[in-house]
Subunit: 326 residues, 2 copies
């Protein structure tokens, strides 16, 4: 039995598998496409999602989900909107001692659930945790230093998983607040789209920093409303991830926002940009839970309601500060 499996061979899943292989773990990476699994096993490179990074020679890759479902710690790195399907396929093969660690960031569009709730639904007796933070796959795969939040409501499991997964270039800070950690990871992608829009409109870096701060307040409101803690957002899963995603053209969400602002991008129906889906889910959560999230609403409006990007930004920035809580 492998000590660690990573489910999903996108850039992030591949980078995670590489980190653990470099730390002498027995790691199995699962790719949905058979051709990719074979390529990675043969060439020790993910030529589609992480081209140019030589992978550890002991890193195994398979497209057989049952083979990848045998590890002690199973890291779920498939895109958020596929999480339910993959969990449903894996669940019958798991024993209750195996841990499921959510490594994707998002909110399920149809159920408006956090991903840990999907995991709990499919695997009610397994320990469930969340790994989330400011990590560019390319940085991590190259061995550059990074840190993340490991969220788990079972303190003993949190300690065990932290110990198992901590690696030379991946520091893990623990919290028991899985809700806050997930809301941070999901909503920051929407804030990053908004920051990309400001960047595309050449509104300046001061405006962007101000918007990130207001974005943090929005995600804290949602987190608290869903049962999480405001405090959690001060960690790697909140501030850290906002800092990274909202200031770099390396971020897909940020770049998407910039292209939206310049008219190079339009409402996508099947996007690979997580924030596009999270904007939809978070907007519907604000309606369901009756909370104010002006940035989420603005981004949703631009993507799904064909609102003018410029109008949306001016509505955001011209609204008097004293009417809203920071």
């Amino acid at each position: 039995m492998s000590s660690i499996s990573v489910i999903g061979a996108g850039a992030w899943g591949t980078a995670l598998a590489q980190v653990f292989a470099n730390n002498n773990h027995d790691v199995t990476l699962w790719a949905r496409e058979d051709a990719l699994a074979q390529y990675i096993s043969t060439h020790h490179e993910n030529n589609i999602y992480l081209a140019g990074t030589p992978l550890h020679p002991h890193l195994k890759c398979t497209s057989d989900l049952s083979l990848a479902s045998r590890a002690q710690d199973i890291l779920m790195a498939v895109p958020a909107q596929f999480m339910n399907d993959v969990l449903a396929r894996m669940a019958p093969q798991l024993t209750s001692s195996q841990s499921i660690i959510i490594c994707a960031k998002g909110i399920t569009k149809d159920s408006l659930e956090l991903l840990s709730d999907s995991a709990r639904h499919h695997c009610p007796t397994n320990p469930i945790a969340v790994l989330t933070g400011p990590n560019f796959a390319a940085d991590i795969a190259r061995g550059l230093p990074s840190a993340s939040t490991l969220a788990c409501d079972d303190a003993a499991q949190a300690k065990r998983i932290q110990h198992h997964l901590t690696s030379k270039n991946l520091r893990l800070y623990t919290t028991n607040d899985m809700i806050g950690a997930q809301v941070g990871g999901a909503v920051k992608n929407v804030i990053a789209i908004a920051c990309g829009i400001l960047h595309g409109l050449k509104m300046g870096e001061s405006a962007r920093a101000a918007l990130v701060t207001r974005g943090l307040a929005e995600m804290a409101r949602l987190s608290v409303r869903m049962g999480g803690q405001r405090e959690t957002l001060m960690g790697q899963c909140g501030i850290g991830d906002l800092m990274l995603t909202c200031s770099s053209t390396q971020s897909r969400n940020f770049s998407f926002g910039a292209r939206l602002a310049t008219g190079e991008e339009h409402a996508p129906s099947r996007s690979v940009v997580e924030g596009v889906h999270t904007a939809y889910a978070a907007y519907h959560l604000t309606e369901k839970l009756n909370i104010e999230m002006p940035i989420v609403n603005a981004v949703h409006g631009c993507i799904y309601q064909h609102k003018s990007v410029k109008d949306a930004v001016h509505n955001l920035l011209d609204r008097p500060a004293r009417e809203e809580k920071e």
Copy 2:
């Protein structure tokens, strides 16, 4: 009597004066150098500190401190280490109804005092407030949108000043926590130097985001120890300012760190980089107050104790996460 005076015609003081002049206030800007004051009055441009930005024609500039000491709201934008001297010169000319609003970021090196404490010392009966946030002078002077924190422990004064100073491109959020607001503004410059060092050493953006998060935790610890609130750092004066200063080569502190890492810069005795002075003051505060601030200590070591930048960074990043609170 002018409604607003800005004391200090550096880039930030000039930008602030410009914002208020653009909002139809009667503004007096004070420059230490007579030649600069005359140039600004004649040419409506600050050719030394904010060259290329045409200033409002009604903006008056003087080097006569008594002329500049007559406004209702007096914004103090001289460098932190000159604040004491300038306040001492102004104090005898003020009446107790005039407000003093600290717009510099730093900690007095010899007394280890916050700047509002210096103001209180010199002007014990005047209302005192702090204006601080993520603002690049060049952005603000050009009229780009921005936001800041206005901190004042007198709620009625906070409301009045917020109302008086809020401008088309400057939103103000209020807090009663002057300590937290000032610790945020001061310490972020030290964290920015550390981020510049990581940038100079090409440690990647993920590492930088992780460091910013830990920097926030350090400033929150110092703030709480000095009597401020952790919560305050979630606003523009904390997160917002970190976001801006720690991710941009436009920031003097960030660039200084980058040059320190590449060996282009050495321990400066008379630097214009605020973080260099704050590193000194904050380090001595950690000793006095017996609190842990590993990033502040590392930056202080690199600047004042000739420690190797690489060793300092590795000490920071290799320290096990579980030993410290995030």
